[in-house]
Structures are given as C-alpha cells and as structure tokens.
C-alpha cells in the first residue's frame, strides 16, 4: 500500500486521513444550506515528510487542516471519515479523543502554524510570556531551565535571546513569523500543520523563513502539512504534493512528479500558467470561477472549466487512480480506471 519510493523501506505512517467529509451546515428560518468544503479526502503523511497542499482560495484547504487538527467550530461539522495520528506508538483518532486527551496531544505532538500568524502573538504581552503560556506546561522543566531551552531553540531560527523581551509590534513581520515557527516547534512536536506560513511575507524574507522551517523540521524529525497556493513554495520545500480542487483531491504524488509531469488538467494549468523569468511565451488564465460548494457541479467538479471534459465527466465523479507508484489522479480523461480502483 505504501508508495515504492527509493527511500521508503518502511515509512512510518504518522497521519492517515480516510474519506474525510466536513461540511458547513447552516439553518436560518427553516432554510438549510450545506457547503461541502471537504468532500471525501483520503491521504497519509509519513514521518519526517513535508506534505504540501495546493489549490485556489475557497477550495477547502484551510477547512481540511482545521478538521485534521480538530479546530472545528459550528457551523463546520465532520460528517464522515476519520483522522488518525500515530503518536508515541499509539494510534489516536483525533475526533474520538476527549478534551483532556486532546489537550495532552496539542503542542506536544501536534502543533499548528496559523495563516497570518504574525498576528497570533498577544500584542500586550512580551514574547517570553507567550512562550510560557503555550509551552511551559508541556515541557515541564523549572522556569529558568525552560527559558534557557527556549533561548537555544530561538537560535535555530536565528533570533537573539533579546527577542524574548520584545513586544510583538517591535519585531518585523519576518521576525514575528520566526517567533511563531519557534513557538510551534519548541516542544519538538511529531506533527506540524502550517497554513500559508509565508504568504504575508516579502519575497526575500519568505525564502529565509521557508529555509528555516525546513531546517527545524529536519532537525526535530517531525512531519508537516504545508498549505499554500504558491506552487513555487511547494517546489522548493515539500516532498509530496496534493492538489485540491473544490473540496476534493485532484492529484497527489511526489512534488517533483506532480510538477514535472502533471496528469490532471487542473494541475497542468496551475503549473504551465506560472510565468518564469527567462520565458516570455504567452500564458493563459483559467476561464470561469471556482465553483460554489453549496451547489457543486455534478460529476467531476472541474468539468465546467476543463478543456478536456467529456460526457462521463458531467455524470460521475472520477475515482482516484494510480498512474505511477505513489502518483494518484482523479480524472476520467487522463487517468481512466482500467486498473482496479484504489482503495479509498
């Protein structure tokens, strides 16, 4: 079942997501509405691996990871499927845990770098206090020793100990982002979820921050899900890449395979439409707008915008099919299921 890559002797599965469905359900004055933001997604992440998720806004990327870390609030509701983490030799279904078990997992095993996370730091508390608030009880060392530990950890993201005494507004955007990366990794979690960690940053700073994120991740040997719509970021940092479209996975595989040899028409479009320095050939934007997930298109959700769409695409959703080891695609045209359909 595991992909037969060159370095996958016995990859340790850290996260398994099976057929996950999470809908936003609202009911006002008797009119109920259901937005199917995550609709039947299966994926897995191995130890020491960075899994990238790409897709345009409102395709359900953020909902998917909110569901994975169980940061869900009404109207978001998990309708089906499971999210299983494998921490410290035990399988844990995150949606079956009670509050105290969840508490014990968060930060220690599972941490979350939020979108626009330069704004998560409390503006009226010094950075030091944010570290104490978040991490002290999980690390369980006496305070002076804890602070020394934090200082040595900050050095990994090239921040001086003096940054601990600063208020967030005294730090630049890139420094604040590094503080949040340090916060999320200080407990050496097994799993990090990063939602657009560099989107608000400048190009030059972005590359530095991504480099540090990868460095820290390699050093503490954790796994990561990295969400961003920027294919350039994925190409540089992720090991495997999943392309999401309208609440479903369209394609998944090793990042290099997905980018060099995209099979799904949506992926091909995403990759070929990017302008590159040194190349002035005409690029085209994708026609049409992202679908409304309250009334998703029938069949393959990409068919109204797809240049290759045929009759089957309008009628039935395509299954995920293995086109190469570890490379799965959901498309009737480019990956017809002549082989048996993969187990979801």
């Amino acid at each position: 079942m595991s992909p037969a890559g060159p370095f996958s002797a016995a990859p340790e599965r850290v996260l398994t997501v099976r057929d996950l469905r999470a809908y936003y359900r609202t009911k006002y004055f008797g009119i109920s509405r259901e937005v199917r933001a995550v609709d039947g997604i299966s994926l897995h992440v191995d130890r020491n691996e960075i899994y990238g998720l790409a897709g345009e806004s409102s395709c359900g990327k953020t909902t998917l990871i909110k569901t994975i870390v169980r940061a869900i609030r009404p109207p978001l509701d998990v309708v089906g499927g499971s999210v299983t983490f494998h921490f410290a030799g035990r399988d844990r279904d995150i949606h079956a845990l009670n509050d105290s078990e969840l508490e014990s997992i968060r930060w220690r095993h599972l941490s979350y770098i939020l979108q626009g996370s330069m704004n998560v730091l409390n503006p009226v508390r010094r950075v030091r206090q944010s570290f104490v608030d978040f991490a002290h009880r999980h690390i369980g060392k006496p305070m002076p020793e804890f602070l020394r530990h934090v200082e040595s950890h900050l050095a990994r993201v090239r921040l001086e100990p003096a940054a601990l005494d600063a208020y967030p507004h005294e730090l630049s955007g890139g420094m604040r982002q590094r503080v949040t990366i340090a916060l999320a990794t200080v407990c050496r979690p097994d799993f990090i979820v990063a939602d657009e960690p560099t989107t608000a940053l400048d190009v030059v700073v972005q590359k530095d921050v991504l480099g540090m994120l990868r460095e820290v991740q390699q050093e503490i040997r954790s796994s990561m899900i990295l969400v961003t719509h920027d294919i350039g970021v994925h190409a540089n940092i992720t090991d495997r890449l999943g392309i999401m479209y309208a609440g479903r996975l369209a394609e998944e595989g090793r990042t290099v395979d997905v980018i060099r040899d995209p099979r799904h028409p949506y992926t091909s479009h995403l990759v070929t439409s990017l302008p590159r320095i040194g190349d002035v050939t005409q690029r085209r934007g994708l026609e049409g707008a992202p679908p409304n997930l309250a009334v998703p298109p029938t069949g393959c959700r990409f068919h109204p915008r797809c240049p290759l769409a045929m009759a089957t695409c309008r009628a039935e959703p395509p299954p995920m099919v293995d086109v190469a080891p570890g490379h799965r695609v959901a498309c009737w045209v480019t990956a017809p299921p002549d082989k048996p359909v993969t187990v979801q």
């Binding site: 190409a235 980018i259 320095i277 992202p290």
Partner: protein, 292 residues
C-alpha cells in the same frame, strides 16, 4: 496632442520624507529618495517598479497619482507640474488621464454599494456622460474591454463576485475615462494563481490595443518579466537598477537585484529541495530601518 519632446510622465529626483516619533525622538524616514523616471508620450509601455515592502514603491505611486506631495523634486505630467494643480478643473483633467488600480479588490469597493455605482460615477465625473443611457453605454464599453459586460455586473454587490472579477471591474472603472496612464499597485497579489494570468494578460492588451501606459508595481519578478518593457528596482527608497526588463532580470547587476532574483521560488526547482545552506550564512535581508 502633446508636443514631440514632452514626455507623458517625468519624475525628476523626487524625495519623500516621513517624520516619525513624538516630540522627543523625532526622526525622518526617507521613503523615496532621489528617484527619477520617465515615460514617453506616444509610446505606450509597461514600467514595472519592483521592490520588497518598505522599499517605497507605494509611496512613489501615491506621488505619481498626486495623492501625496513630494518633499523635494518634481513630477510632471505632460509637462505640467502635478503639485501645482490648484483648480478643481485642472484636478479633474489630471484624474481623467491618470487612473489608479489598487491591490486588494475586496477592500477597494464599498461592500454596501452595488458595483455598477463606481462605473456610473466615473462615467459621470470623468467621461462627461449625463444621461443614464450615456453612462451605461460607457460602463458597458469599459467592461467589454476587460472581458465582462454590464449585464453580468449590473446591480451586483462586491460579495457576489470573485476576486478576479472584482479586479477586472476595478480595471474597467479605471478605463471609463480613457486614461493615458494607469498606476497599478500590486494588482494581482490578492488574486488567485489560476486567475492571475488573465489579469496580467489584460494589462498587455491595454498597452497594445488601447495605447495605455502602465506603471506596474509588484514584488513578483516573474510577472514583471512576463509583461513589462522596462523595470525599476527599488531598495529602501532608492532606485538601484533600471533598464530594459529582459536585460535587467536576465542579468541583474546590483547586489540587491541579484538577491531579489535569487529569492524567487520557481516551480522548476522541484526535485531539489532547498538546502539549509541556501539560507544559512546569509544575513537576513530584512529592511525595516531606512532611517536618516
């Protein structure tokens, strides 16, 4: 109309100093420092101004739009100093010719007003349309230039439209008065990757088909390379390198331009993940304090 030698826009050694701090610790920050540029009349082109945040590119745009007055230096539009505009009539004439497009289409429009309000308003103020049929025709024409039509957007509110559509409408609004210069401040950074290229292609079409010159402000080197004729690279308020877009970006000379180019994350890098050595050892290229 303009004499042969008069440039469309001439920015001559402008400087903008902001004073920060209170009474005790007062200091000046030079947001734009001694920048000059020139756009010729009768030769529409796209000039990209590139730099990271804090490099002064938005301040420069605000000065070109006459929304901010330079501390020193002059900006001439068709030979006339824009800071000398006094009468309302002169001001309207200037605004008819020079139109802005802003970064975030979701914030550029009032969510409580139907989107056609902006088009009709521009048509009334700048295009001299009086009767309803007149300004509807002007709005429709501008919308057709961006691939939309009035029937699609009439009476709709911003939340009903996607970011790409809103940005197209923002461009259509700027086109209503048939300007000769458009100043676009990061027009695609808030637009989805799948829709970004259609907006960028639209700018090319405006230049080629309508003869509009465009000042395109961005931090994205790849789109700048794709559409612009000339580039101006700014660092901490100073223009560090400028020239032909392909020439500069293919072979940057200034260390800052080289750094910017090396920071571009290209999809072609797939398969050789960034090594830690890439970022280690290099000082963080952050610029926050361009204090004088």
């Amino acid at each position: 109309m303009s004499a042969a030698g008069t440039p469309l826009l001439e920015v001559d050694r402008v400087r903008m100093t902001y004073v920060v701090g209170g009474l005790i610790r007062r200091r000046g920050v030079r947001a734009v420092d001694d920048v000059s540029l020139r756009l010729e009349a009768g030769n529409p082109e796209i000039l990209a101004i590139i730099g990271e945040s804090g490099s002064g590119k938005t301040t420069l745009a605000r000065m070109i739009l006459n929304l901010a007055t330079p501390t020193a230096g002059t900006i001439r539009f068709r030979g006339a100093d824009v800071t000398q505009i006094r009468s309302n009539r002169q001001r309207m004439a200037f605004m008819r010719e020079v139109q802005p497009i802003f970064q975030n289409p979701f914030e550029a429009f009032n969510p409580l007003k139907p989107i056609d309000h902006y088009l009709f308003f521009s048509a009334r103020r700048f295009a001299g349309a009086r009767a309803r049929i007149d300004f509807e025709a002007k709005a429709d024409k501008a919308l057709h230039q961006v691939g939309l039509s009035l029937a699609e957007v009439k009476g709709r509110y911003p939340h009903e439209l996607s970011g790409g559509q809103l940005q197209r409408i923002a461009i259509a609004r700027a086109l209503v008065s048939s300007p000769s210069l458009i100043v676009a401040d990061e027009p695609v950074s808030m637009v989805d990757a799948s829709l970004r290229m259609s907006i960028v292609n639209l700018f090319k079409a405006l230049r080629d088909e309508l003869g509009v010159s465009i000042v395109y402000i961005t931090h994205d080197l790849a789109t700048a390379y794709y559409i612009s004729d000339r580039v101006l690279i700014m660092q901490r308020g100073k223009a560090v390198e400028s020239g032909d877009a392909r020439g500069v970006l293919d072979n940057p000379q200034h260390p800052y331009s080289i750094l910017l180019k090396s920071a571009v994350l290209s999809p072609d890098d797939a398969g050789r993940p960034m090594s830690p050595a890439d970022s280690a050892g290099r000082p963080s290229a952050h610029s926050t304090s361009n204090t004088e």
